[in-house]
Amino acid sequence: MQIKMCLARGFDRLRGDLSIFLTTVLGNFFMGLILASMFFNLEADTSSFYSRGALLFYAVLFSAFGSQLEVRRRKLPLQPSQMTDIRNDSRF
């Protein structure tokens, strides 16, 4: 129940401020394009061995540290309308 409320609030916040969402998605997409064009069309022979390793290393690092900003705490109180929901809920 609490999870459902927090979830609804979370998606409301997401919908209310789409700029962060769009910046993340588009930013990462362009980073992907830039990274891929650095290693564009690797030859399928021994000349590309080191590049393949470097590319996979970069790819996994981008995947891993894309969410580094999540260390910040985002605790906000519930909205007044949701608070009354909790107060009226017999389970709390």
């Binding site: 999870i3 990462n28 021994t46 996994v60 995947s63």
Partner: protein
């Protein structure tokens, strides 16, 4: 006063981050994988995608754990920067596992990125034969060397062969083996669950 358990907020914020994570994973990995001509097969592509995504989730959990165990953002930045540095250096590409000094080798063992990287490397190289481009010896006087007189110039090459086995390259330069791959599927999940249990 809003009385909700931090745990419910933690789960909710994780789920709310999923749409952007999934979308980022699709756009980033799809363009990266096919523009650079990585292995064009169905299985390897989806294995690559799976491990990239699992790695994202796992690291996200680790950062959330650090964030929730500290009071301010500046307090959280110090350990996260330190951990980032250690994880990047001990992934296995900058320092191959065989060259790691023994008293820091454990960083490689607790590093989720290292496991993901190992799987991606095996996924890319194993079971493929790469035609040789450059032979040793090379230069004036050696143009006519053939057979066992010459060897390809990359790690894992064997004298006299005109192809290099991808698995031989991995074994000699990184000590990565196919047999380890599916064992590692469980590691990041386990790690994710572990971090999840620490939340708030």
């Amino acid at each position: 006063m809003a009385l909700y358990h931090p745990f419910s907020e933690a789960i909710a914020s994780m789920i709310c981050a999923l749409p952007s994570k999934i979308l980022v994973a699709i756009t980033f990995n799809l363009s990266l994988y096919f523009m650079t001509n990585l292995r064009r097969e169905v299985g390897p592509f989806f294995l690559y995608f799976l491990f990239s995504f699992v790695c994202t989730m796992c690291m996200s959990m680790i950062f959330r754990t650090i964030g929730s165990s500290s009071r301010t953002i500046s307090q959280a930045m110090a350990p996260s920067a330190l951990i980032t540095l250690a994880l990047v250096i001990y992934t296995g590409f900058v320092i191959p596992p065989r060259d790691m000094v023994v008293w820091f080798r454990w960083i490689n063992y607790i590093n989720p990125i290292a496991y993901a990287f190992e799987v991606l490397m095996v996924n890319e190289f194993d079971g493929r034969e790469f035609p040789c481009v450059q032979y040793i010896p090379q230069g004036p006087g050696y143009e006519n060397s053939t057979g066992l007189e010459r060897i390809c110039s990359v790690k894992g090459a064997q004298p006299g062969l005109s192809v290099v086995q991808g698995s031989a390259y991995l074994a000699t330069s990184f000590e990565y083996y196919r047999a380890n791959v599916w064992r590692y599927v469980f590691f990041p999940y386990h790690h994710t669950l572990l971090q999840f249990s620490y939340m708030d």
